[in-house]
């Protein structure tokens, strides 16, 4: 989940001419963002659950490659991307699990990275199945071209005026889905110092990056 958000946020170099659609403008906007901070509510629906379960958290992003996805406050899980590593920090267990970005992406099995460097590249991986504008909200439905993968589809919604991402939902072939709704979005604001370098002194480091 956090990876897709991250990819959508940092996807760079989307630029094309001739009256871009809202969706195109939204993609192009991602490359311009320098910092981002937002609250999220993540809901997970599973076949084995009678009702979805939800967790709240916060995300921070700083161009070009810093990203923090934090569940809970005080944090229960922090996913931190810095350089070529992804670190999963669990304060309660006092552990830091380091994964190579490549491995993390494969094991997560959600998206390829980079998500896309251009609209053309995006469409190599996804078919844009539907784009609908309702008032100031644009809803986009993407279908993965890899029909053998675990991911069955992606839906996202963004504000056509400020181009903020409002919702992202991924559905999987086993019938499960993860939906994240974003609020309190602040773009290009000042981020708290040290947000991408949490103190993990005394934590057990599990290096799974090799």
């Amino acid at each position: 989940m956090f990876r897709l958000v991250f990819l959508l946020v940092v996807g760079a170099g989307f630029a094309w001419s001739a009256e871009p659609s809202a969706f195109d403008r939204w993609i192009a906007r991602q490359a311009e963002i320098r910092t981002l901070s937002a609250d999220f509510t993540q809901s997970r629906a599973l076949r084995v659950l009678r009702n979805p379960v939800a967790a709240r958290g916060h995300l921070w992003y700083q161009a070009p490659g810093n990203f923090r996805w934090q569940v809970g406050d005080p944090p229960k899980i922090i996913v931190l991307r810095k350089g070529a590593d992804v670190r999963v920090i669990e304060p309660a267990k006092k552990t830091v699990k380091i994964e190579a970005l490549e491995v993390g992406r494969r094991e997560a099995g959600l998206m390829e990275f980079p998500f896309a460097r251009s609209r053309a590249e995006l469409e190599k991986r996804f078919a844009v199945a539907d784009v609908k504008e309702e008032g100031s909200v644009c809803r986009v439905k993407l279908l993965p071209r890899d029909t053998q993968g675990f991911l069955a589809g992606v839906q996202l919604a963004f504000n056509t005026e400020n181009l903020h991402l409002l919702m992202l939902e991924m559905s999987f072939r086993d019938g499960s889905s993860v939906r994240s709704e974003f609020s309190n979005i602040e773009v290009d604001g000042k981020l708290p110092a040290g947000i991408f370098a949490p103190d993990t002194t005394g934590y057990q480091v599990i290096d799974a990056s090799r």
Binding site: V48, A55, A108, Q148
Partner: protein, 777 residues
């Protein structure tokens, strides 16, 4: 007397028939390698315990992932409709289609876990705790960022799996078993439906499966590959059969052709061919009594033996053509030559027994035996036939007369005199002899199965620097103890950055199982309460499916050690664990730091083998050349002693030794010019050339001594025999140059080249040198 003869013939027939009936093929490459080498022993164990003799791998390569996936599914469906051919086809993780089977593995992993963790898991589901446990699970399901964790918790809400460290990894199996990362390369695993009792069954099954697959792929939409044990067995056995037949028939045909060109007489030729066939049958039958399986090297014996045994036939016929006389006269004239030639040749081949390479020993025994039998057959059967039936050759043709005329002999001497230094110069100019340190000599020359396996390794996993870790023991306890002790040692010797995939998590731990079984069986008896609590916490009924399956397994097991046995578990375990009447073996993988492979391969611990094919090559390089130096020294000593005993003249013996030394230097130079490499098998050519190559100078020197007054005549008379013998022996060896086994083929080429050089040196240079030394003496 007549009754005795009939009885003898019958006994010989029975001996031959029974001996032949015992012969079979053995394609196991380790049967031709020294069994005492640690790498060979370990790799042999690996193949014995982890290579499946009834499993074929069909690989599919397509331009894109979708085509490959569709092709795998379609082809699997085609095979599923052929239960007469394929008992089971697996093309994706079995738990995807049979998720219920995962329950056994999950139950087993918990049973195997440390008892304190299992007790903690049991406490978490006690009546007063279970509600909180399930709430924590729901919370974690909401928060988790790991799909693998979500999947596990969804189907294990009571979190029994937390007792098992590395549960998710263990249950996933080996990565890349079915598909490359980009999805364009897929693998189907086929289990044979018919029993594969021998290589003929394997050939039939592999051909039938291949035909079905190729018919499906009529338009060539994807690239198919076939590999696995039965494919190798079929391919190598077929090659061995063809090697023996083709090389034997080829050698026999060419030799018959040479005889015809020289003598143009059909009856002695037919008799000679019959004698050679008789020699071959007797030799093979005799071999059947002391060995049962012919190895990939052993099959080369027929052609070599024919090429060598025919020498005695040529000698007998040439002697009788020139001198005539009775059977007794003929035998008397031929006896010294045949005796010394057969003795030295057989001695050289039998000496291969001293080699630690069993394949070469077998080849040596077969050829040595064949040469002795060939000498006896020619001496006792062919000589009487020739002398009694008075098969005389025609007068030499004009071409033959010109070939042996004094100017032609002088020209030959000059050309050989020039050629030999040029060849020897190859040692300096072309860089000297190169030793192939890889294990290529053990492999088939052309092997689609090997190519498919290489492609599979390249696409599915990075085999570079990877070593197999085999841990053996009498029982599960011993292997488990060794695995635990080995872990820190491997990580230390493997160096910083090494990665070790231990089979320990899947290995049965009888002590843990004994302690855990009562605890888990008590939980299993309470499964209704567990199910009810899960559903009350907000989970659907499906969430209990795995836990229900797990508790059923715990109820089922009554005795330890427990080995999981359903198809999904077996699929996982067969890659890492094996047990049989002779003990248990566990298999791990280690990728050491770049410079630590040799240290790991040399690790000496009881029952532990750290092995790889490159390390086998390195070990062979360390041991085999040293051994050959020792063997060659012995053979040189034995040959010199025999020659001194026979000739009793130092000058003649030194001349022959010099002649052989020249031949070896010229051979090494010629190989350098031709870019031929030495390997662990064609090094034996040195021994064989010593044994067979010494015959020609011996014959020539005997002839020169017998005709002191007319050395030119001796050169012509014996030159013909030497040329015939060398040509036929070179044909014998040369006919295995196309053998399917690379080592055997290289041995054939090296010996053929050496014999050709030997003949030139003996016919053209030795008489000149002999005359020179005689004059000066």
């Amino acid at each position: 007397m007549r009754a005795v003869r009939i009885a003898l013939v019958l006994a010989l027939l029975a001996f031959t028939a029974l001996g032949l009936a015992r012969i079979s093929f053995d394609v196991d490459v380790f049967k031709i390698l020294p069994p005492h080498l640690r790498q060979a022993e370990g790799l042999s164990l690996f193949l014995k315990h982890f290579a499946r003799s009834d499993e074929m791998l069909v690989t599919i390569e397509a331009p894109d992932a979708d085509t490959a996936a569709r092709a795998a599914e379609e082809l699997a469906a085609v095979f599923e409709k052929r239960p007469d051919l394929v008992a089971r086809v697996t093309w994706r993780p079995r738990w995807e289609t049979h998720p219920a089977e995962l329950a056994e593995l999950a139950a087993y992993l918990v049973l195997n876990a440390p008892p304190e963790k299992v007790r903690a898991a049991a406490e978490r589901v006690a009546p007063e705790q279970i509600g909180q446990t399930l709430n924590e699970t729901l919370e974690r399901l909401a928060e988790s960022v790991s799909p693998a964790e979500v999947m596990r918790l969804a189907y294990d809400p009571l979190r029994f799996s937390e007792a098992v460290e590395g549960f998710e990894k263990a249950a996933q199996g080996a990565p890349g078993e079915f598909s490359s990362e980009d999805g364009t390369f897929r693998v189907l695993y086929l289990d044979a439906a018919p029993p594969l009792r021998d290589y003929r069954d394997a050939i039939r099954w592999v051909d039938a499966v291949r035909a079905v697959a190729e018919e499906w792929n009529g338009a060539g939409q994807v690239v198919l590959g076939f590999t696995g044990e039965p494919v190798f067995l079929a391919e190598i056995s077929r090659g061995m059969e063809a090697d023996m037949k083709v090389s034997g028939v080829l050698a026999l045909t060419i030799i018959a052709g040479i005889f015809w060109i020289c003598y143009r007489r059909l009856r002695p030729l037919a008799a000679l061919v019959a004698m050679l066939l008789l020699t071959f049958v007797f030799s093979l039958a005799a071999a059947g009594w002391f060995l049962t399986d012919l190895t990939v090297l052993g099959v080369g014996f027929a052609a070599i033996m024919i090429g060598l045994s025919v020498d005695y036939g040529y000698l007998i016929y040439q002697q009788w053509s020139e001198h005539g006389g009775t059977v007794r006269d003929l035998r008397k004239r031929c006896l010294p030559n045949i005796f010394w030639a057969a003795s030295t040749t057989a001695a050289a081949f039998f000496l291969l027994n001293a080699s630690s390479l069993p394949g070469l020993s077998q080849l040596g025994n077969l050829v040595g035996l064949g040469v002795v039998i060939g000498a006896l057959v020619m001496y006792f059967l062919y000589a009487p036939l020739v002398a009694r039936l008075k098969w005389r050759p025609p007068a030499p043709s004009g071409i033959a007369a010109r070939f042996w005329s004094p100017p032609a002999l002088r020209a030959g001497a000059w050309l050989t005199g020039l050629l030999v230094p040029v060849l020897i110069a190859g040692l300096v100019v072309a860089g000297g002899p190169v030793i192939d340190e890889t294990t290529r000599a053990l492999r088939p020359r052309f092997s689609p199965a090997n190519d498919a396996l290489d492609r599979l390794s390249e696409r599915l996993s990075d085999q570079n620097n990877l070593l197999w870790v085999l841990v053996t023991g009498r029982d599960e306890d011993e292997v488990g103890r060794r695995l635990r002790e080995l872990d820190p040692v491997l990580r230390h010797v493997g160096g910083p950055g090494s990665t070790y995939t231990s089979p320990e998590i899947l290995w049965p731990k009888p002590e843990n199982q004994q302690a855990n079984l009562p605890v888990l069986q008590a939980l299993a008896a309470d499964s209704e309460r567990l199910q009810s609590a899960i559903e009350q916490a907000g989970f659907a009924a499906e969430a209990f499916a795995l836990t229900g399956g797990v508790t059923t397994e715990w109820k089922r097991w009554t005795r330890t050690p427990v080995w999981p046995s359903n198809a999904s578990s077996e699929w996982l375990l067969r890659r890492v664990a094996s047990r049989g009447p002779d003990g248990c073996v566990a298999l791990g993988l280690i990728r050491p730091a770049p410079d630590r492979e040799e240290a790991l391969a040399g690790l000496e611990a009881d029952g532990v083998f750290v092995v790889s094919w490159p390390q086998l090559g390195a070990e062979l390089k360390r041991t085999v050349p040293r051994e050959f130096v020792w063997l060659v020294s012995i053979l040189v000593g034995v040959t010199l002693v025999l020659l001194f005993l026979g000739f009793r003249r130092v000058g003649d013996v030194l001349l022959m030794a010099g002649c052989l030394l020249t031949v070896f230097l010229a051979l090494a130079g010629a190989m350098a010019w031709l870019g031929m490499e030495w390997n662990f098998f064609n090094m034996a050519a040195i021994l064989l050339l010593l044994g067979t190559g010494v015959d020609y100078p011996l014959h020539m020197t005997l002839a020169l001594r017998g005709r002191l007054g007319d050395p030119r005549e001796a050169q012509i008379t014996m030159g013909k025999v030497v040329f015939l013998c060398a040509l036929s022996a070179a044909v014998g060896f040369g006919s295995i140059s196309w053998a399917s086994n690379y080592g055997l083929a290289s041995l054939g080429r090296t010996c053929a080249l050496g014999l050709a050089i030997d003949a030139l040196v003996v016919v053209y240079l030795l008489p000149a040198a002999w005359r020179f030394f005689r004059r000066n003496a």
